[in-house]
């Protein structure tokens, strides 16, 4: 997680903390109705973080707008990843299968479709008051929203992110009392 990412999150936090610029949060929230980076009223709050060499459809730029919008929807930070918070949500809701189904759908989503799932997910977390680590979320989303041709190793990186999200989700969903050992059957696996 870079300083740059953290600086952006700090910037968003200041927007909410001071409550000075209600228009800002409203504009960012409203930007969620558009594809990331396509809502001009959000530009004043985000574009200054976009280096000049990034083109308009750069995944990293899109992720800044996406996270800004989602933050405005649910401005609550804490040291748990989105997947872990979502896993906790499932546990709090008596392990409702629908939450898991949503999470699975989110994991399977590509750059085009992931925002729909994230909007729903953040909405659910907001309803339960569960915050998340937005800085880490931004780093992950910058990969997720990049096209697979963006750079070498992108697919592997995205795979690792998905794997981490899945591990976070199920660990949080099982809670602290997860079963420690596998049931052993005694068929000999050794060759």
């Amino acid at each position: 997680m870079s300083e740059y990412t953290q600086a952006f999150i700090d910037h968003l936090t200041r927007l909410a903390e001071k409550n000075a610029d209600r228009g800002a949060l409203a504009a960012l929230r409203h930007s969620l109705a558009f594809p990331p980076g396509r809502y001009p009223k959000a530009y004043p709050y985000v574009e200054r973080f976009v280096p000049p060499e990034w083109h308009a459809e750069d995944g990293r730029r899109l992720a800044l707008y996406a996270v800004a919008g989602l933050w405005a929807r649910h401005p609550s930070s804490r040291g748990a990843s989105l997947a872990a918070s979502f896993g906790e949500l499932m546990r709090l809701r008596d392990n409702a299968p629908s939450i898991e189904q949503r999470f699975i759908a989110l994991l399977g989503a590509d750059a085009e479709g992931v925002m729909d799932h994230l909007r729903q997910a953040i909405g659910l977390l907001a309803a339960e008051g569960l915050g998340l680590d937005y800085a880490r979320f931004l780093s992950d989303l910058q990969v997720w929203l990049s096209s697979s041709e963006a750079y070498a190793g992108h697919t592997d990186q995205l795979d690792r992110i998905r794997q981490r999200w899945a591990r976070d989700f199920y660990r949080a969903q099982q809670g602290p009392a997860a079963p420690a050992t596998e049931t052993i059957d005694h068929t000999d696996l050794a060759q």
């Binding site: 994991l107 998905r162 794997q163 591990r167 050992t181 596998e182 068929t187 000999d188 050794a190 060759q191």
Partner: protein, 521 residues
């Protein structure tokens, strides 16, 4: 047929010298220069083992002929100063008439009677009949385009190397000449083990079997000291080996090479050999036995099984209080006895493990591996037992992690809880890289473990070993994951089993730093 191609004088045995050159020498020269020669340079593992066995049989008989018996101190002296040349050369001189590759009455390790016998005299076989690496008859192969009716020409030196390997490693089975089926060679389906020294002289001293008991010097004879085999012997009942010399030179098939006018070999006569009867109480001196589910199993090269997993069967160690014990090869005991007589002053004992694995009459694979065994490890039984425990730990971790991996694979398949699904998952895991990856990775830490156990840094060695096993398990797990792809279902299975994997590793491998584990997670 006149006599031709003496093994004593013609250059035929490929050897590596100290300066790295590979040369071919005759037997007289081999023994004369045995302290300059580093090792045999044969590349086919069966022939390599057979050639060492030939040299050992000659050495043993020459010493027996000259000295009768010898003491451990003699072996130490020979190891340091060289084998008694006079005895060796006298012996070769004495038996020189039996070391002709082509000879009318007594060709070397062949049966001259095949040229006259009714069953064989009109039947010629191509030389590929005795080549373990070649195809003949109806054997289906991809790359070997040999035609039985038109065999290529083989130089006598190559024919000899081929013959030696074949007689030792041939599997039992159909022969259809003189007898329907014949017994296997002494090293069939065996990973033969041999202690190596820095020179050929040292190797021969290390692996030399003990002197015959007083009055029994003329019982265990090599093939060239026996009368030429007769057809009646070939048709007779299997005969147990009289001892190592007999095993090392047993003519388990009857072969007669037929030289061409230019001295090469294309054809041969072939028949059932002087069959070797199994004797469970007299195992081959170069074979190790590990404990299997149904008794002792001869250590061989099993597909996909890393050889060091059988290390406990190779290292002589104290008996377990209960159950069967693995048996180390006698040849290793001879080497360790020599090290003991030298007060364990040589730090490492390199081991050559080479051989051919077969299933019935089907030849599967041949391999040659080398291991370095610190002598201090075997000098004290407790240390050897510790090594056994650590190899067992590697097996236990593999078993436990494989069990979890099967569960994870099953979770990605329809109906994860059914027994059939688990069976399929297990088959998936077995055909994947999981096991090979785990043991290959762990093997890299093995030399350090052995050195550590042999030295004073035992605790550090054990911790490093556990760390290596953990890393190997995690890598193997990653391999299994890659085979699953990245579907949400696979991600879910991974996520569910990931904490259990770590919990299992923590249980099995308590000697690790939790910090490292966290970083890896």
């Amino acid at each position: 047929m006149s006599k031709d191609f003496s093994l004593l004088d013609e250059p035929w045995l490929p050897l590596r010298l100290a300066d790295g050159r590979v040369v071919e020498l005759g037997l007289r020269e081999v023994f004369r220069r045995s302290r300059e020669i580093v090792a045999l340079a044969e590349t086919a593992p069966p022939s390599l083992v057979a050639q060492y066995r030939l040299l050992l049989a000659i050495t043993h008989r020459a010493l027996t002929r000259a000295l009768g018996r010898w003491a451990p101190a003699d072996r130490v002296r020979w190891y340091r100063e060289g084998l008694p040349q006079q005895a060796l050369q006298d012996y070769l001189d004495h038996w020189q008439d039996r070391f002709w590759l082509f000879h009318a009455q007594a060709p070397f390790l062949q049966v001259a009677a095949l040229a006259e016998a009714q069953a064989t005299r009109d039947k010629r076989k191509p030389w590929t009949q005795i080549a373990l690496a070649s195809a003949n008859g109806n054997t289906p192969v991809v790359f070997d385009h040999a035609v039985d009716a038109e065999p290529t020409a083989l130089a006598p030196a190559q024919a000899l190397g081929t013959l030696l390997g074949y007689l030792q490693f041939t599997p039992g089975g159909l022969v259809k000449c003189l007898r329907d089926a014949d017994k296997a060679g002494p090293l069939v389906n065996t990973a033969a083990i041999l202690p190596l020294g820095a020179t050929l002289n040292e190797t021969l001293c290390l692996a030399l079997h003990p002197a015959s008991r007083s009055g029994e010097e003329e019982i265990d004879l090599p093939a060239w000291e026996r009368p030429p085999l007769t057809i009646a012997q070939l048709q007779g009942e299997p005969v147990p080996a009289t001892g190592p010399n007999d095993r090392y030179t047993r003519q388990s098939r009857a072969v007669l090479l037929l030289p061409e006018a230019d001295g090469t070999v294309r054809w041969l006569h072939f028949a059932a050999g002087w069959a070797l009867a199994d004797d469970p109480h007299a195992p081959d001196p170069m074979a190790c036995f590990r404990v299997g589910s149904q008794g002792l199993v001869r250590v061989s090269f099993t597909e996909g099984r890393a050889f060091w997993r059988d290390l406990p069967a190779m290292v002589p160690m104290p008996a377990l209080p209960q159950g069967l014990n693995s048996q180390a090869a006698a040849v290793l005991q001879h080497a360790l006895a020599l090290h003991g007589a030298m007060a364990w002053t040589v730090p490492d004992q390199p081991l050559l493990v080479a051989g051919l694995a077969s299933d019935q009459a089907k030849l599967l694979r041949w391999r040659a591996e080398s291991l370095r065994l610190p002598t201090a490890l075997v000098a004290e039984p407790e240390r050897a037992a510790e090594l056994r425990d650590q190899v067992a730990l590697a097996e236990a971790v593999h078993r436990a992690v494989a069990q979890l991996a099967v569960g994870m694979l099953a979770a990605t398949l329809p109906d994860p809880t059914s027994k059939d699904t688990r069976t399929r998952a297990r088959a998936l895991l077995d055909t994947g890289p999981f096991t090979a990856s785990y043991f290959a990775q762990a093997q890299r830490a093995l030399p350090a473990l052995m050195q550590g156990l042999a030295g004073d840094a035992q605790d550090a060695a054990l911790a490093a070993w556990q760390q290596a096993l953990r890393a190997a398990a995690l890598q193997a797990w990653q391999q299994a994951l890659q085979g699953l792809g990245r579907s949400p279902r696979a991600l879910k299975a991974d996520a569910l089993y990931w904490p259990r994997l770590h919990s299992t590793l923590n249980q099995q491998l308590p000697l690790h730093s939790p910090l490292v584990a966290q970083e890896e997670a």
